[in-house]
Amino acid sequence: MIGEGWTGICTAKEIADFGFEVVLVEDNATLGQDPEFWIPSYLMDRQELKNEYEGINKHELIEYLPERKLNGCTGTVGKFSVQLKGEKDTLDRTVGAIVLAHESRAVPLLESYGLKDAQNAVSLFQLEMMLESYDSRGQGEGLLQNANQIAILYGFDQEGDILGQRRVMESVAKLEENGCDVYVYTRNLKVADKDLEELYKDNRNMGGIFFKLQEKPEILSDNSISHYDPVLLRELNLKPDILVVEEELKPSPSSERLIDILGLTNPGDKFLQENNIHRLPVSTNRTGIYTVGTIRDIMSFSNIKADAANVAVRLNSCFEHVNKQYATTKAFVDKDKCCYCLTCYRSCPHGAIRLEDKPVISSFDCQVCGICASECPQEAITIVDVKWEEIKSAVSGVLKKSDKEYSPKIIAYCCENSAYEAGLAAKMFDRALPAGLEIIKVPCAGSMNLDLILSGLKEGADGILLLGCHPEACKSSKGNTFAYWRTWRLRKILEEVGFSGERIHFETLAENMDFEFSKYAMEMEEALKNLGPNPLMQPVSTSTT
């Protein structure tokens, strides 16, 4: 478990309570030392928080290692070896699974509102800190001492921080209770969380005023706020005593380093989890590596706990998977053919290939998508469960069936995660399908190399459909991208040798898209009817002399 702050503590506890031993590594010790970091008291009782921190040290199943960073990791699920670098030494630990639970940072957006140098501008977090003085001393401190009018600017420079919205509303309530007038400027009021609508109503009843604007209001040189009000239909000016500015939630700075070390697919937006429905809720592209909390998405506190519970539950099935897969080889590399070009290592979407004297494919990590085999220029990789020869013979078997009436023969190579299921659904729901359509199940659209795709044409099909998943919904992250490239290239090649490129077509589907499946197949048939039969199958005249 590598984590920070409350997210780390909470996740470690959930997993340990579930009966697993946990090595908790605190990536950033200052957060762990200061449990009050940006968790306002109304979101979590201080005493409860302190108890949780103390509980971690006493828990018999948790080994707590503060101030260490993950420096390296080898191995696969069931047996990861991790190097944990501290200031003086490096510790080695062997663990069955890795959980990443880092917290996001709230970065004040004072600058983007042009309020960087303003004396009376604070961030939301700073306001919350000041507000606690009401509880401790019974009166406002600092800027709050003489403040009457307070303006909160929220939701113009970032959308979708639901926790931030709650913080704004709780602050409004507290300020109004203590006699301040609060004005909230926002674009869309995010009330999509428990009780927020009611809180909003309370806010207004207490006297809070909410301006909902499409554009950011103008902040004048004297720090007064000016906007055209869509309800009152006139310009409004306000010179508040305090300007409170929203914060942007930024994922932990550790995330890029972790992606590198652990070989995760980089989503490119500094978060740790790919934007892919197959990874929900807490998985990554690697078996046995999980991610929890605000490092995977922006979320509210209750979700962090839900994430942690979900990791705990899934760990068991993950290890069960390890046991089932034990000693079964899923794929192997022919060492004589391999030229060590590392194409497989780079193309594997599951980080399942490690480099020894030659690339070795881990049975635990491999998801049998076949992308490595299709990319390997030496054809050195064998995927045990996928019998390409069987697919080829299925294709030729299908095509030898004689048809009295001419209907174009279409081979549809369908990804088993999406298009194949859609094809089955199309049959069950009686959608229109071409008479000459044959559905061939393949592990991933990206598993089909150029040869395999073409083999259908060679064996006599009139057209080839390659059907995979939508972008960002591919179980193997980029299988559909490979499929797209290959069809594009094949179409060029076909056209160069005098075939029509239209004989090969790639489309993306989801498994509940029976209508689209039927549509694409029928469109293909229509196109093939216009093109006529496969020229390769025309009787060749033998009298050439």
């Binding site: 697993f20 869309n188 009330v191 969380d193 978060f271 809720p281 034990y326 299921e421 989801a510």
Partner: protein, 442 residues
């Protein structure tokens, strides 16, 4: 050690996910659904991809259902209601089941009759190919048909099937229960000024999903043509004190935006207008960014006053003009009402039966948020939209949380019984507590 048995009540996405997670453990799982099919509300939704996955999660439901059919320790009880619940030491549930007509022969008969049903709703078909059985007979509907059936194929049912087959009873003894009883979509008839369903072309978003499932496109009900000008009306039955629903249903905004995106991608010429209060598009990646949706759709920050019939079966939406105090009227081909999430009307019964509190809105108490106080824990947990509005992904995650709480509860019970230290005992595998594989070590 005796095998533990658990029951999950409700076969929607939360119930299915919970059953699937539990199936990895050494347990007997009973999934109880009152409808003829699994999948709940979520199975009716269509993929919203616009060439790219928009993360509507509809395909996840399909996928989970497929996996569930392969799990061998999950017993599925369809068309079953709980008639009695005995709260003694071991919980005892009594189920009353409708006959299912699930033999191969009976399914063939139903399949033939389905085509002739003329949408009378007597023969039902699953929304997913993974529904087993795929066809069902709506016995309540048959009882209403005192005049006999409308088509020869249907009247043949009488001869071929034993329609008087009686309900069966079964009792189950379980040690833990997850309640995943779901929500009820808001009934838009309650807002009378919108004239649903009096006007053909005022539909709920849910109707549109069913239309898309049946016909493959989002069509106008009056003439089955593509509408050219559509309006979405948000917050129908949500965020409204007058309706008694002072909560945001949180799924409708992303949902309606994705549906609009799907429609616009297919037919770029269609004009789409949103009547809304605030766009609730939250999270790290709102899939459709504000820049994109504001440029593609027209946004009107107001709730319409009413919807009236227009010429040529169009509808007229009247709303307050934004710059003057007067009412404007605008013609649309179709008005889609984004209906919200309401508590299941049976929640009160459920609360009585299982001793679970309701929150102030009428949703079930969220046991997973308080479950860490195990002292008063009785092995009954709640999951999914039964506890409040959630989207599909959130329901799946919430189910995972309930599963964790249930497993912890069962372990604690066992440990107490045998005097063990706290440890977890349902792991089927050979891994030790650090998750290290013993085979790998040796």
């Amino acid at each position: 050690m005796p095998n533990k048995t658990v029951a999950i009540i409700g076969g929607g996405i939360a119930g299915i996910s919970a059953a699937l997670e539990l199936s990895h453990y050494d347990l007997d799982i009973h999934l109880i659904e009152k409808d003829y099919f699994l999948g709940g509300q979520a199975i009716n939704y269509n993929c919203k991809a616009n060439g790219q996955c928009l993360q509507c999660y509809a395909c996840l439901v399909e996928q989970k259902l497929k996996e569930l059919n392969q799990a061998n320790n999950v017993h599925i009880h369809l068309a079953s209601r709980i008639s009695k619940f005995n709260k003694d030491a071991n919980y005892e549930l009594e189920l009353v089941k409708d006959p299912l007509f699930d033999s191969e022969k009976e399914q063939e008969i139903l399949k033939a009759a389905y085509k002739d049903d003329n949408n009378d709703g007597i023969v039902l078909r699953g929304a997913s190919k993974n529904n087993i059985p795929f066809f069902a007979l709506n016995l309540d509907k048959i009882k209403e048909q005192d005049q006999g059936f409308s088509s020869p194929a249907l009247s043949k049912l009488y001869e071929q099937l034993d329609l008087n087959r009686s309900k069966t009873k079964q009792s189950l003894e379980v040690q833990g229960i997850i309640l995943a009883t779901g929500f009820q979509p808001f009934d838009p008839r309650r807002i009378q000024t919108y004239h649903y369903p009096v006007l053909d072309n005022v539909v709920s978003a849910f109707d549109m999903e069913k239309m898309r499932k049946a016909k493959g496109d989002y069509l106008r009900p009056s003439d089955n043509n593509l509408p050219q000008k559509i309006s979405f009306i948000q917050c129908v039955g949500s965020r409204s004190e007058t309706q008694g629903n002072l909560w945001c249903s949180r799924v409708c905004c992303p949902y309606a935006l994705k549906m609009a995106e799907a429609i616009k991608t297919e037919n770029p010429d269609i004009d789409i207008t949103f009547f809304y209060m605030d766009v609730q598009n939250a999270g790290r990646n709102p899939t459709i960014s504000p820049e994109s949706y504001t440029s593609r759709f027209r946004f009107m920050r107001m709730m319409p006053v009413d919807i009236l019939p227009g010429s040529d079966s169009s509808v007229i939406i009247r709303y307050m003009s934004s710059d003057q105090d007067k009412i404007e009227s605008e013609d649309f081909d179709l008005a889609i009402l984004s209906i919200g999430i309401e508590p299941n009307p049976e929640n009160e019964q459920i609360s009585d039966m299982f001793n679970l509190d309701l929150d102030k809105y009428g949703f079930l108490e969220d046991r997973s948020s308080v479950a860490n106080t195990y002292a008063d824990n009785n092995g009954i947990f709640s999951a999914g939209t039964a506890t409040g509005p959630k989207n599909i992904a959130e329901s799946i995650e919430h189910a995972g949380q309930a599963v964790k709480d249930l497993l912890t509860f069962l372990s604690d019970q066992e440990n107490k019984e045998y005097g063990y230290q706290r440890q977890f005992i349902f792991n089927q595998n050979t891994s030790d507590r650090r998750g290290l594989d013993r085979n790998l070590h040796s």
